[in-house]
């Protein structure tokens, strides 16, 4: 039927193209090759977050890297042509199933009991014997083996496990549901996966949670990392073996807020408290389809640095300043005519190519300052450069700044997840597996027994597992006296 040529319209041409199993297999092969190529260089989500992908792939991997990037392999599952390939696979599955599933259903539903002589002869398992055995006994034996029996003029069609033939179509349906689920990820409001770094004490907008009703905010009160106690007798032996400390818990204590809609970014929102929560690994904070998972952390990031203004000779201190490394003040007044001005601030100090002091970025990993110190004794001010293990000052300075302490804070990394497609994908996956099981663990077996010219003709067919069918036929013939049909393919090869 399918191979008949009636290519009149465009629709039929497209349909027939996708109806070919060969085309479907080629689509799968192309998808596999593309997915394999996509693993040669890292995907965009795994390259360092602060580099520009337009140049990164070329600089790191040369021309192949550039081609990789230009063809969209760096973001394979988001590239338009990969999506088109998946769509083509979906269409192919639908059309192949429609074109084969329905005709097969009809053919099996309306199959005749009495088949033509040549049909019988063509079957792989076939035999002719004298009639004269009890057909009632044969039917009883077949029924015991769970065959469904249809009769027509004394001829028999015994059939079992027909439903196993629907396995591939159930399997295809599951795959199509799976693909629909994957497709829905690209629909607005269905899917979010973003990372959020949040310092202790900070309140930030939760990315990906902005809607017409407003936006969620999160405050991080504390990040906690707990280790297994070496003194605990339950663990001490195991801990001695590993040698390294073993973490027991990563936890962020947070408060979730919600703010009403705002057209202006950056304006201080009016936060309404939703609830307090403790986020641990595998124990996310879930709200309104969103889940916040603990994924990473940074311990002891510099937050505040304390310095004392001291007289160099006497060592006497004239007060302490506390420098907030994220937002230092420009002047620190100590009273009694003593004050310190911050002339320069380098959060992540380094020397540039001209040996000029500069900063690597805005994260205070290696803070350095230029201070100007004013005292009643030195009203014009004395300048000093202070960094970690780097102090530079004029030799005749009478005063100096010395470190007196540092305060650190931890940083939590959370992922914001929302996936409304997951139930669809899971259902699709389950249906897919049911189809596989259905098609694999049962075989559709048919046995025809016909009276012809005083002889008894027997033929048997299965869609797979001929060995199993032959064993079953052996049992049936022993129990019923029916002759054991011969495997004609054995005869030919012998």
């Amino acid at each position: 039927m399918r191979s008949q040529t009636y290519n009149k319209t465009m629709v039929d041409k497209i349909w027939n193209f996708f109806s070919s199993v060969k085309v479907g297999i080629w689509i799968i092969i192309v998808i596999l090759i593309a997915a394999a190529i996509g693993t040669i260089f890292p995907q965009e989500m795994y390259i360092p977050p602060n580099v520009d992908p337009t140049t990164y792939y070329k600089e790191e991997y040369g021309t192949p890297g550039q081609i990789f990037y230009l063809l969209g392999f760096h973001n394979l599952y988001g590239s338009w042509w990969f999506l088109l390939l998946l769509a083509a696979l979906g269409i192919s599955l639908i059309i192949v199933s429609i074109d084969r599933g329905f005709p097969l259903y009809r053919a099996l539903k309306y199959q005749r009991v009495t088949r033509h002589e040549s049909f019988m002869k063509r079957q792989r398992l076939f035999a002719v014997s004298d009639s004269g055995i009890s057909m009632d006994r044969v039917k009883r034996v077949l029924a015991k083996k769970h065959y469904k029996i249809k009769e027509d003029n004394g001829n028999i069609l015994a059939e079992k496990n027909r439903f196993s033939r629907w396995g591939p179509y159930v399997n295809h349906a599951g795959l199509i549901i799976f693909l629909i689920g994957a497709m829905l990820r690209f629909f607005p409001g269905m899917y979010t996966d973003q990372t959020l770094w949040i310092r202790e004490g900070e309140t930030v907008a939760v990315p990906g949670t902005k809607t017409e009703d407003g936006q969620y905010y999160l405050k991080n009160h504390k990040f906690i990392m707990e280790l297994y106690d070496k003194k605990d007798k339950d663990y001490s032996a195991a801990l001695d073996k590993t040698g390294n400390p073993v973490p027991k818990n990563y936890q962020s204590n947070v408060t979730l807020y919600h703010a009403g809609p705002s057209d202006v970014v950056g304006a201080k929102p009016e936060l309404k408290k939703e609830r307090d929560a403790k986020i641990k690994v595998n124990e996310p904070l879930s709200f309104n389809d969103y889940s916040l998972y603990q994924v990473d952390f940074k311990l002891n990031e510099f937050h505040r640095m304390n310095l004392k203004l001291e007289n160099k000779k006497s060592g006497k201190s004239y007060g302490e300043i506390k420098v907030n490394l994220f937002n230092p003040k420009s002047t620190y007044v100590l009273g009694n005519g003593y004050k310190v001005e911050m002339v320069e601030y380098f959060p992540n100090f380094k020397l540039d190519e001209n040996d000029q002091p500069t900063t690597e970025n805005s994260v205070p990993d290696n803070p350095a300052f230029v201070f100007k110190m004013f005292t009643p004794e030195t009203p014009k001010g004395e300048t000093a450069f202070i960094g970690i293990r780097k102090n530079v000052e004029a030799g005749d300075n009478k005063y100096k700044m010395s470190f007196s302490g540092i305060e650190t804070k931890n940083v939590s990394a959370l992922t914001v997840k929302k996936d409304k497609t997951l139930p669809i994908i899971i259902i699709g996956g389950i249906i897919f597996m049911l189809g596989v099981v259905q098609g694999l663990y049962w075989n559709h077996r048919r046995i025809w027994i016909q009276q012809r010219n005083g002889q008894l003709w027997i033929a048997a067919h299965t869609n797979k597992n001929w060995f199993g069918l032959k064993r079953e036929m052996q049992n049936i013939s022993e129990d019923s006296g029916l002759v054991m049909p011969i495997d004609q393919s054995d005869e030919k090869s012998a």
Binding site: D52, L83, A87, F186, F326
Partner: protein
């Protein structure tokens, strides 16, 4: 008759699939960087405080062209274009073009020292929480948005700009 039915069925099915796939592709390709600002978009309004402590709101500049620059003191390419921006700012301010140089996440002290060193006189809004930076979907800096007098983004560039380029940009957004 049966053939016609089949054609109708096939056509409907193919159309449904084509629409679904088309919509997915549209969402993926055109709204790819969800939340980030694209050329032709209305520039999202924001409110920040500048170096002097004044409130800066983008929508207050309606009717003017805005050269909206995102930068950091530690970024060399940003440093290179600053003197040119300052120079053209003086030329074009009277012609209705404003520069807003949003600093990405740095402290007031660092930015002030930098601004003093380069004698910058245009407003420098401080985006300490990086909320505006995120809303504009800034990847690398410097990134410059050219906003016309109607608040529409007509150009986005992530290059360190030469004096000539800045001048031509100013001409482009001059009201």
């Amino acid at each position: 008759m049966k053939k016609k039915q089949r054609l109708v069925f096939r056509s409907i099915l193919l159309v449904i699939v084509a629409v679904a796939v088309g919509y997915t592709l549209y969402n993926n390709v055109f709204n790819d960087k969800s939340g980030s600002v694209q050329k032709g978009d209305q520039a999202p309004d924001f409110e920040l405080t500048d170096l002097q402590g004044n409130k800066v709101q983008l929508s207050d500049y309606k009717g003017k062209g805005v050269f909206l620059n995102f930068w950091g003191t530690w970024c060399k390419p940003c440093q290179r274009e600053m003197p040119y921006m300052q120079k053209e700012y003086r030329n074009y301010k009277k012609q209705g073009v404003e520069i807003l140089a949003v600093n990405v996440g740095e402290s007031r002290v660092s930015v002030k020292n930098f601004a003093d060193r380069f004698h910058l006189s245009f407003p420098i809004p401080l985006d300490g929480s990086r909320e505006v930076t995120k809303a504009y979907g800034i990847g690398p800096i410097p990134t410059t948005f050219l906003v016309d007098k109607n608040g529409k983004v007509i150009e986005i560039t992530s290059e360190s700009l030469s004096n000539e380029t800045i001048k031509s940009y100013m001409e482009k957004i001059k009201p």
